[in-house]
Amino acid sequence: MPIGQKVVLIGGGHNALITAFYLAKGGFKPVVLERRSVVGGGAVTEEFHPGFKASTLSHTLGPLRADIARDMQLDKFGLQIFRPDPRVFAPSPDGRGLLFYEDAAKTAGAISHLSAKDGAKYTEFAKELEKVAGVFMQIAAITPPGIDKPSAEDFWNLLITGRGVRRLGKKGMLDLLRWGPMAVADFVGEFFETELLRAVIAARGIFGANLGPWSAGSTAVLLLRAAADPHPVGSATFPRGGLGEFSRALADSAKKVGAEIRTDAEVVQIQTKSGAVAGVVLANGEEIACEAVVSGVDPKRTFFQLLEPANLDPVVAMRIKNFRARGNVAKVHLALGDLPTFPSLANAVGPDGFHEALSGRIHIGHEIDYLEKAFDAAKYGEMSAAPYLDVTIPTMLDPSLAPTGKHVLSAYFQFAPYHLKEGNWRARRGELVNTVIKTLGMYSPNLANLVEAAHVITPVDLEETYGYTGGHIFHGELALDQIFTMRPVLDWARYRAPVKGLFLCGNGTHPGNGLTGACGANAVKEIIHELR
């Protein structure tokens, strides 16, 4: 293939921007086409109320894989990252609370106030997780092997991974195999006795998933997340100016090396000629001819809406159809006149630690059963009456997001099933706000009086505004049968699609867990390999 070949990328999400960057560096001519007027996909900053800005969807980085951050020199493009410590504050209705610091020993100290035994266990757990996460990190960074004709590189990767696994030792290996399919509730139960502690750590196994803590396989999700960040409670990494700044930096870095990025450019069709990609058609009728297209949007949209059915082998079509992408998450943003108080936090850290403690993520869901009951509702097409919330107050670290003295509060709401049994999301979106205020009210009595405005993103909005089919923020369920060589589907997990010249680089591919850039960085290797 001639160097300088044009490659069209569909969707301007973080994975596509990263792919574009590496393609440009590899001598190709990437053109990113974003449907909306702003790049970033799920990582955007938007003004939801005059003077109030929020990271509309994702509110923390995965974090981004270190090598990518290095290659793209994001700091040079004005990206400034906050890493609050403590990362997570978890209040409990009984007035107690837990703080999770960067430092395991310090956290253990905090925990031992609730249970000396768990305090001791926590440091051990942190170590165990880090060990196991190491293996998953390797796996997350490779292209899933081909089963029929494994390439030399596949064998090499398996060898490397194999050695990593063996380094865990017999017990470590057996634990790894045992944990994967386990319910995360059992997993945390093996280590801890304190419900609050169990719940906070278990939550990572169900975030964004169609699983409850008692669902088998939820531990695999937790371990997968640990690959991006081995810390027991996961990442609290905030760019100044919100996630949109992160995407902007990615875009600028990609442009710098020669990528072209167009917004308000919605691709409505991928054109093919005799089984190979021929170009794309935009909503305004414009046609762009090219022999390589990389789709950053989810598999269902890519194959069923952008591609003509005739191009799809029925077996693959059936598998893509079976690819589960039932969204279960909503997002609520509140514009607050002032900073809400958290009495239980005052107990936990005293007035001086107060500010730091609210700078990270706030976990609402103090018991395993609380989380499970929140999930139960969703199984029957109901939104949780007492939801699991992942909350941030970004204005603690970044006052620029709100008028002076005022604050923004963002809450991930789980569970909110895409398919409601009664009514529809247009009619019921208000209930989400009320439930969030009611739930947080148990911990922050004055919150309700501070709300100046609220903004809701329902699973349906996720689909219509942000383009996530089924409203699934990870482009598809992270389940045992939809990861690694099965993501998105068996035989097509190597970032290639059944149509020649069509590639995937979004979260619907391996490893597919949030804002880490791993999908894009893995995909680009395969794309360049294929096009060269």
């Binding site: 017990k171 195999l177 399919p181 093996e190």
Partner: protein, 530 residues
């Protein structure tokens, strides 16, 4: 001077007896010790009500390994399997779904509910057959350990890998799904008829503390589906004289091979002398010495009750404590003076000769699970019923009948109260549930026997009332069953082996566990000899 044996087998359940029979056939002097007055463990039949023979726990059979039937010549010892044809599922709307072994008939019946499903059902059966063929050999082999570099394990792993690669892409896809998905998600891909999916997914939850939407249940579905295509007898069946007759036929074969069997001989302790199992002490105080002990009871009893903690490595003991039992089911056996009359299909028909499954819908099943998650027995449980007396009149007086009901969920750990004070309520709740579909049931009842998980623990020695001696969940299968690193019928104590359902390939009346264990024991015996 205490008597001495080559092998003492603890527990006279079907696996213990199979194990003993094979060891004796190999020339070993074997003694089987059974705590109760009858043999069979959970595969037992007793006259609870005068004239009525109840197969108290296990009530149907399908997975009993054909090679065992052959090698132990069980038919000559009285084993006779009578066909159990079909599954009848009454629905709440007054309709029903009735699947039978006759494929064409079933298809016509399903077409009544959905044309699409009728066609899919055909495809489905075609798809499942190679799946069973792939997994079946695993039931008769020692599961390889992927964490060792031992040539034997590597060979077996390679064998499996090759067989996997020989599968077509389609078969691989289905196999991976079966190994990882929930029964509900798996069936959702195939069918649209709620009751069909509910009834089929039911076999995915039996004996587990999982709901039909919990990943991993698709495998259990396969585990049970396998019985339906077994070479020996095509479908699930009854044993003439009750399930206990299976155990008795195995006992017959064992005795013929020279096995000595003692009932009402409860074991108190396993005697360990410098790291080796040396014998057993009975509750009676009697001591019996032997070279090898083969325990068919579950890991809790074997390691936490019969052994002193000091005899076992700490991390092993920890794993045993972690091993999940969590009984989730109960059993209600009824003596009836007539036959139930179903609203949806009145009268005495062939549907009463098969299984009757109260699993009217997916949501019904899932809600039954939700009750159990929070420590209550299901307000409306899944019930699998059979009337053996219709097929085998010998188990009830003329004109009278036995109704055997498997009930899920009944969690061992209750949120409030004890099973002793909830037993009656549980039993009545089951009868009320049945009455919603067969209103006349209440007038028919002469006597009832209600077995809660607690009763199964007390009566039959099933810890926490788990019918499979431990949950059939992915992390407790194959090389992880019962304890990761100890899935080889061996234990940390020399000359002490396991041969019960808590070992690979798990629960159900298969006998495979006992048979494979005997091979391991004999092999190691030879090794020790040279």
């Amino acid at each position: 001077m205490p008597q001495s044996y080559d092998v003492v087998v603890i527990g006279g359940g079907h696996n213990g007896l199979v194990n003993a029979a094979y060891l004796a056939k190999a020339g070993k002097k074997v003694l089987v010790l059974e705590r109760r007055h009858v043999l069979g463990g959970a595969a037992v039949t007793e006259e609870i009500v005068p004239g009525f023979l109840f197969s108290e726990c296990s009530y149907v059979v399908s997975l009993l390994r054909p090679e065992i039937i052959r090698e132990l010549d069980l038919p000559r010892h009285g084993l006779e399997i009578l066909p159990l044809d079909g599954t009848f599922s009454p629905m709440l709307n007054g309709d029903y779904l009735w699947r039978v072994n006759d494929h064409a008939k079933t298809q016509r019946e399903i077409r009544r509910h959905s044309r699409l499903d009728a066609e899919a059902y055909d495809e489905f059966s075609k798809k499942m057959t190679p799946m069973c063929r792939f997994v079946k050999p695993l039931l008769s082999m020692i599961p390889p350990d992927p964490t060792t570099l031992h040539p034997k394990d590597l060979r077996q792993l390679n064998f499996l890998l090759q067989r996997f690669r020989e599968l077509s892409s389609e078969e691989r896809y289905t196999l991976i799904q079966l190994m990882t998905m929930s029964a509900a998600d798996f069936l959702d891909q195939w069918f649209e008829t709620d009751v069909l999916k509910a009834t089929m997914s039911a076999s995915g939850i039996i004996g587990t503390f999982l709901g039909i939407r919990s990943p991993g249940t698709a495998y259990v579905l396969l585990h049970h589906y396998m019985g339906e295509i077994d070479g020996a007898f095509r479908s699930w069946g009854f044993s003439r004289g009750g399930t206990g007759a299976i155990s008795l036929s195995i006992a017959g074969a064992a005795k013929e091979a020279g096995v000595e069997i003692r009932t009402q001989a409860p074991v108190e302790k396993i005697i360990v002398k410098n790291g080796r199992a040396a014998g057993v002490a009975l509750k009676s105080g009697e001591e019996i010495s032997c070279n090898v002990i083969s325990s068919s009871v579950d890991p809790h009893l074997t390691f936490e009750v019969f052994l002193e903690p000091k005899e076992l490595p700490g991390d092993f003991l920890e794993s045993v404590r972690r091993y999940k039992f969590r009984g989730s089911s109960g059993k209600v056996n009824l003596a009836l003076n007539g036959l139930p009359n179903f609203r949806s299909l009145p009268g005495v028909g062939a549907h009463l000769r098969g299984a009757m499954s109260i699993s009217p819908g997916m949501e019904y099943m899932e809600r039954a699970y939700d009750d159990a998650k929070y420590g209550h027995f299901s307000r409306r449980p899944y019930i699998d019923m059979v009337i053996p007396s219709l097929t085998d009149p010998s188990v009830a007086p003329p004109g009278k009948h036995v109704l055997s009901c498997f009930v899920q969920y009944a969690p061992y750990k209750l949120a409030e109260g004890t099973w002793d004070d909830q037993r009656e309520a549980f039993g009545n709740n089951v009868i009320d549930t049945i009455a919603e579909h067969a209103p006349n049931i209440k007038e028919l009842i002469i006597e009832k026997q209600v077995l809660t998980p607690l009763d199964m623990e007390r009566e039959f020695g099933l810890t926490q009332g788990n019918i499979f001696q431990g949950e059939l969940s992915l992390e407790q299968l194959f090389f992880l069953r019962p304890v990761a690193g100890w899935a080889y019928y061996r234990t940390p104590v020399d000359n002490l082996y396991m041969c019960g359902s808590a070992t690979h390939p798990g629960g159900g009346i298969m006998g495979a566990n006992g048979r494979i264990a005997s091979q391991v024991i004999l092999k190691e015996w030879k090794k020790a000899a040279n």
